[in-house]
């Protein structure tokens, strides 16, 4: 961990910049900053053992001036860290927080046709099986091997 990193906590603005780098938005989908995602990430980070430490290590590995650089530069800075388990934990917490935000849920419904309510208790229609799809497959001669 760099010296600067050692003093970087999850309450610092650098977390917001890091999340914005991962989820910058694109005009349609909101960015991490627009959603204030850092707050949701802070809430989630304690939900699994080791995630807080992992995030702190990623923050600690960021160089001085990270927050002042451009999106492209920040992405370049992050690439060498990207394969690590710590970075994996960061992505998990960030996406987990992002994909349950009300604004994002709305887009998932509108743009992707995804029903965002919990799958139970209502479920979805279980259509009856349509046997006609088997017309061709049924016509094949048995081909299992005698033993």
């Amino acid at each position: 961990m760099s010296e600067a990193g050692a003093t970087r906590g999850l309450g610092q603005a650098i977390l917001e910049v890091l999340l914005q780098t991962l989820l910058p938005g694109n005009g349609t989908w909101p960015s991490a900053s627009e959603l204030g995602l850092a707050h949701a990430v802070r809430e989630r980070v304690g939900m699994a053992e080791g995630h807080e430490e992992a995030l702190l290590r990623v923050l600690g590995a960021l160089p001085e001036g990270f927050d002042a650089s451009s999106q492209a530069e920040r992405e370049e800075t992050l690439h060498p860290l990207a394969g690590s388990d710590d970075f994996g934990a960061l992505l998990l917490v960030a996406y987990d927080a992002y994909y349950v935000q009300p604004g994002v849920l709305l887009l998932l419904e509108e743009r992707c046709g995804y029903v965002t309510r919990p799958p139970q208790p209502d479920g979805f229609e279980l259509a009856p099986f349509d046997e006609s799809v088997l017309a061709r497959a049924r016509g094949r001669e048995p081909f299992w091997r005698e033993a």
């Binding site: 694109n26 989908w29 088997l134 081909f143 299992w144 005698e146």
Partner: protein
């Protein structure tokens, strides 16, 4: 009975029904269906936390750690009443007749000490007990009794693949699923909610806590939960005399038994046998062959995921599969591998798992995240290529030197590597599945040679066989070296076949129980129990 999972549930019911006194010791506890994630907002995030299928990530106090530092493929299982069937996606295929005769037919591994025909009545019984949906007429399999329930609907993505397979002249068939498509045996039909892996809140998916266990208990079986067995004890004549188990407070108890049945799965059973060393068995219980823990098989899985321009509704439908292809299942000398693989056509995932890369997806973080997410979410169909894993003695479960559980007992360690045959099969499977996906209209196909989080099927570590130097138990599941010790779980498998194992585990467990019932008067048991 040690372990209340797929095999333990089936065997306990059969034994209790025949009037035997059954006590089952299970390290986990009953799960409350109302606590499963599917009915709560944020349900998907529990899939990566307390409902992760990997016990090393899930880390409940009922789980035990598994040292997987020496295994390419990571272990997936559940500890509790129902065992790993709490999380299974309930694909319920049978082995082929040829799967029991691989040595005779193909000159590899060993033949099983029993045939498909001998197991078939137990497959039928199990299908009726758990409620299986499917349809007769599959040309890849022998004729059999009709399934109790009609198949699940295919869904958009699988329908496209089915049509593509038809055009290519490839085999496909609706999957057998232990998911109720109609109300059955007092249980509700599936309402197509999707995440079967997170436990079924309606009881439509056949986990053994709701299929076999209520019946076993009604027939007098006694189930002790949060009872972690640490040793199988022997009497002075080398017969199994019971089990030492540890309760939540770390107190030890001894459960005496005339007959001991191990059903703690392909990792838990060899672990317990290796922990149970004695003067008679210094290298682990019933291990004169040296094969306890050896021949671990896992079914490596390769992936080909097709990306479609239009939305194929791939976040809907059951987690498991609705169709499969066995075009490349049997050995063909023209190919560069022996034995074969099955292809399971599965759906996509919810938003969180999609963003995290789902099945072979390449969703980047950063500026391209949102566009790529939208291209993939709901637009994918995955062919999971399930490879017949040949047994090798070097692939094994042993006791870890470095990892231990909360009772300070050595954790099991998985030592596992892929063989070249599997790699060649994976390459073939990716090519054939890519062709099928493109034929189905996929614009792009994303692939993965080997899925690391794929240790769902734990097999072979106390294998069956007629030859006591090449196997741990005989064809009835009885240990060669200890006459009143039996195994009734995935450890039994002589070979792995190219299909999911659980119906075969449960059929074997029912058969092991019947063998115990018919031989019990001749089995030498400890006199003081």
């Amino acid at each position: 009975m040690i372990g209340a999972g797929a095999g333990g549930g089936a065997a306990s019911w059969r034994l209790a029904q025949a009037g035997l006194d059954v006590v089952c010791l299970e390290r986990g506890e009953w799960t409350d269906a109302a606590s499963y994630p599917a009915a709560t907002p944020g349900w998907e995030s529990r899939r990566v936390r307390d409902f992760h299928p990997n016990p090393n990530i899930r880390r409940r106090d009922t789980d035990y750690p598994i040292d997987d530092s020496t295994s390419l493929i990571k272990p997936l299982m559940f500890c509790g009443v129902g065992g790993s069937t709490i999380m299974w996606t309930a694909h319920n295929p049978r082995f082929h007749p040829s799967d029991f005769r691989v040595k005779t037919l193909d000159g590899v591994a060993d033949d099983w000490p029993l045939s498909y025909e001998e197991l078939a009545p137990y497959y039928e019984l199990n299908d009726r007990m758990i409620g299986v949906a499917g349809i007769h007429g599959d040309p890849a399999m022998p004729e059999r009794d009709p399934r109790p329930l009609p198949p699940l609907p295919l869904g958009v993505g699988a329908t496209r693949l089915a049509e593509a397979y038809d055009r290519l002249g490839h085999h496909w068939w609706p999957a057998d699923s232990a998911v109720l498509t109609r109300d059955y045996d007092g249980r509700l039909a599936c309402n197509n909610c999707g995440p079967c892996e997170l436990g079924c809140t309606r009881g439509s998916k056949a986990s053994s806590d709701i299929t076999y266990w209520p019946k076993a208990i009604a027939d007098g079986a006694h189930l002790v939960t949060r009872a972690a067995v640490r040793e199988i004890t022997l009497d002075e004549r080398g017969r199994a005399s019971g089990a030492v188990w540890i309760d939540d407070d770390g107190r030890e108890h001894h459960q005496p038994a005339k007959i001991v049945v191990l059903a703690a799965n392909g990792v838990g059973t060899p672990r317990l046998m290796l922990l149970s060393n004695s003067k008679r068995f210094p290298d682990g219980l019933a291990n004169d062959s040296g094969l306890v823990g050896r021949n671990l098989m896992l079914h490596p899985i390769a992936l080909a995921t097709g990306v479609f321009d239009d939305n194929v509704d791939s976040f809907h439908g059951p987690d498991g599969l609705t169709i499969f292809s066995q075009e490349f299942y049997e050995t063909d000398p023209e190919r560069d591998f022996v034995r074969g693989y099955g292809v399971q056509v599965t759906r996509g995932q919810g938003p969180l798992i999609t963003a995290l890369g789902g099945f072979a997806l390449d969703v980047p973080w950063g500026r391209n995240h949102h566009d790529r997410f939208e291209q993939l979410f709901g637009h994918v169909v995955t062919c999971a290529i399930l490879i017949e894993d040949l047994p090798h003695e070097h692939n094994r479960v042993q006791l870890s030197d470095t990892v231990s559980d909360r009772f300070d007992l050595p954790a099991p360690q998985m030592v596992y590597e892929l063989d070249d045959n599997s790699r060649r099969m994976a390459a073939h499977g990716i090519e054939s599945s890519s062709e099928a996906l493109r034929e189905a209209g996929a614009r792009e196909v994303l692939t993965m040679d080997m899925l690391p989080m794929a240790g769902f099927h734990l097999m072979g570590t106390a294998r069956m066989g007629d030859d006591p130097t090449r196997s741990v138990v005989d064809g009835s599941g009885r240990a060669h070296d200890v006459g009143n010790l039996f195994v009734a779980d995935g450890s039994l498998f002589t070979t792995s076949a190219g299909v999911n194992p659980t119906p075969t585990i449960q059929a074997l467990a029912l058969r092991v129980a019947d063998q115990i019932i018919s031989a019990r008067r001749d089995i030498a048991v400890p006199t003081d129990v």
